[in-house]
């Protein structure tokens, strides 16, 4: 283990916004004027609260229809998974894969990753911290891509409006699903990745 020093070891505090290190007593970063705090407040509690909310919304998002297609008087509601199935039937495999990954795998993987990281911070082993940091960055980056399905619905609703012939209307799952996406993004935003490294055992005293 190489000697890793944190701002706290030198009676300093780092800025979240511009990365600058300043005196521990400062309340505002001298460079960018953002409020300073060593770690995000109640990071794990907030993240978990967001995660529980997103998990609850995940069920209506997948069970209820996301949109209804009416063609010549026949209404056909479709769920997210139903949409993937339709694409497979149409033999549009790449698109089926895009929707399946963006709408099913990514939100689920992101929820699991963030639950795991919260657990790591509270009780985990200080092993492979680099990979755990990496995991958080991937989860953070992937989040917004789940909005694809919601945008597809919005587009179809705006475009496919030929009365009596073919219309598309949005359904409740569109709202629940965008809730899942946005709330997991908020969860990622409230999680402080530096907590992962706080569990690393270090001997500061030895270094003087």
């Amino acid at each position: 283990m190489s000697e890793r020093l944190t701002p706290a070891d030198r009676q300093q505090v780092a800025c979240h916004t511009c990365y600058q290190v300043s005196d521990l007593h400062s309340t505002v970063c001298p460079r960018c004027h953002s409020p300073l705090h060593a770690r995000k407040h109640h990071s794990v509690q907030r993240t978990l609260a967001f995660l529980f909310t997103a998990t609850m919304l995940y069920f209506p998002a997948n069970l209820y229809p996301i949109m209804t297609t009416s063609s010549l008087g026949v209404s056909e509601p479709s769920t997210i998974l139903g949409g993937v199935m339709t694409m497979i039937d149409m033999q549009a495999y790449p698109i089926a894969a895009v929707i399946f990954i963006a709408s099913v795998i990514v939100p689920l993987a992101k929820l699991i990753a963030l639950y795991f990281l919260c657990w790591v911070v509270k009780r985990g082993q200080p092993l492979n911290l680099k990979q755990k940091s990496q995991l958080f960055r991937i989860a953070e980056f992937m989040g917004k891509w789940s909005m694809v399905d919601v945008f597809v619905v919005s587009l179809l609703v705006a475009l496919v409006q030929i009365q009596g012939l073919m219309t598309v209307t949005p359904d409740i799952a569109a709202l629940s699903f965008s809730g899942v996406v946005i709330i997991t993004m908020l969860a990622a935003e409230s999680f402080d990745p530096r907590l992962i490294w706080d569990i690393e055992p270090r001997q500061i005293e030895d270094h003087g």
Binding site: V21, C32, S133, A158, L159, Q161, I162, W197
Partner: protein, 229 residues
């Protein structure tokens, strides 16, 4: 006043990694070089001597292209003699009409309003930096530009457009409008703009620009251009 993005205006920086909170030293980077955190591999900075030029160019193009994308038909659907035209604006409006008010607000924020706000603030930030003008809103815009980036879903919307096209070609005849092509170009310009911006370099440039004026105000004369040669 000199462009603070010039190579010689940067010095070594002692910062804390935002991902693992380790104290690290970012050396003076050459054009095209990048710095990663020694402990967690977080990308700390990527140096581009022409950062301000590129960002301003991309932001201006993106702004023009978005205007075009909003003004012209995006997609036109033709089926049995009837047609339905979609523009970028009526995407949220259609959701609103079906009672999805919250969703309408979110969609308009993520694909129109926040990207617009980011572009305008980017210009308000980088143009003064390019000319070395210490305008009072530098810190404010820099904080918001980097904070709001995550919520701009321009690229996600482009993928959604392509997915919808595949869904629709089987059902009806679709015409791609000028708005569509402008939006594709806009997505590229916007994404390039975001990826050209370097947080650390930006804050150093702000520091430098503001410091220059403080020194000037205190009567310290800086030999323009001559000091580094």
């Amino acid at each position: 006043m000199s462009n603070p993005y010039h190579q010689s205006d940067f010095s070594e920086q002692h910062i804390a990694c935002p991902s693992c909170d380790s104290l690290v030293t970012v050396p003076v980077l050459q054009h095209g070089e990048a710095a990663y955190c020694h402990f967690c591999n977080f990308p700390l900075s990527q140096r581009n001597f022409h950062e301000a030029d590129h960002v301003i160019a991309y932001a201006l193009s993106a702004l023009v292209l978005l205007t075009v994308a909003c003004d012209f038909p995006f997609l036109t659907l033709r089926e049995a003699g009837a047609e339905s035209i979609m523009t970028l604006f009526n995407t949220p409006i259609a959701l609103h009409r079906f009672g999805m008010h919250l969703l309408a607000v979110m969609v308009s924020l993520f694909i129109l309003l926040l990207p617009l706000a980011v572009m305008v603030m980017t210009l308000l930030l980088y143009i003064p930096l390019y000319w070395g003008r210490p305008v009072p809103w530098l810190r404010f815009t820099a904080r918001w530009v980097f904070a709001l980036q995550v919520w701009c879903m321009v690229d996600v919307f482009l993928i959604a457009v392509l997915v919808s096209l595949v869904k629709l070609v089987e059902m009806a005849h679709i015409d791609l409008g000028i708005g569509f092509w402008a939006y594709v170009a806009f997505t590229f310009a916007f994404t390039l703009m975001l990826s050209s911006m370097d947080r650390l370099a930006c804050w150093s440039a702000i520091d430098h620009t503001l410091l220059q004026t403080t020194q000037a105000a205190n009567g310290i004369v800086i030999a323009e251009g001559g000091q580094h040669e």
